[in-house]
Symmetry: C2
Subunit: 150 residues, 2 copies
């Protein structure tokens, strides 16, 4: 999420939070700001640690509570893997991406793919249900690029 998108997300989040009757409190605000600067997945512990390193407030409890609220309001997406939840901002424009975990390095690379989205949209129709969310994690490895032969 680049800088303008980051600002937009903070803005959007604050709007949604206020509309839900919640306050602009220090802890949650810090979590929102930290998340907004993040491209990709963060654990609650990472967030808490980083907040404390930055001198901001941020007890474990507050971070978890903030994340729970943000998740309920659809402002963050949550991934559960290996017993730990990871969070990332949800772009309010509806943009979203998925993740591919590289076998060798364990690196997580975000990607998106229109055909995949089409397939998912179709599944709801085919199975007779409304798909309200999806969580897709691929695993794979890069193909060594063949030298570009024009």
């Amino acid at each position: 999420m680049n800088d303008p998108a980051s600002k937009r997300w903070i803005q959007h989040s604050n709007d949604v939070l206020r509309r839900a009757g919640l306050r602009a409190s220090a802890g949650r605000t810090a979590v929102v700001e930290l998340l907004s600067r993040q491209t990709c997945l963060l654990t609650a512990q990472e967030i808490a640690d980083q907040l404390r390193a930055d001198g901001s407030a941020g007890s474990t409890a507050t971070v978890y509570r903030a994340l729970e609220t943000l998740h309920e309001l659809g402002l963050v997406r949550r991934f559960d893997a290996e017993g730990t939840a990871r969070y990332e901002p949800v772009d309010p424009s509806g943009d979203h991406h998925h993740h591919i975990v590289l076998d060798e390095t364990g690196d997580v690379v975000p990607f998106d793919d229109a055909e995949l989205e089409r397939a998912i949209a179709g599944i709801g129709r085919r199975l007779g249900l409304v798909v309200t969310g999806h969580e897709i994690i691929l695993r794979g490895r890069l193909i060594e690029e063949p030298p570009e032969s024009d």
Copy 2:
């Protein structure tokens, strides 16, 4: 997984386990048999409870250890969601399905979808990598069937 597939999976699992130098012990065998009868995702607790209900052995520790071993050997697939891992047998023929979690009940419904598989296959090509695995969880809710008006 229907009956012949179930038998095949037990057979295959036993082969792999023996080849790995492990024994045909009571606890693990019970876990394998229980899993083989299962269509879909089971938690470790559910497995342990059911084993004990069936009079078989099955302490939590044994179940967790068995599942860990089976997972390492590629015999089961593991899904992490909401802080709990769920397991299901991996069909040795390469067949697989995905899951949709119902918003209201939390029930997990298996499904498969050719178009989705096609899309995933295409992603590798489009991104320049080999997709070695994928994990897809949809969330949604059933559409109330309109009462059959004849």
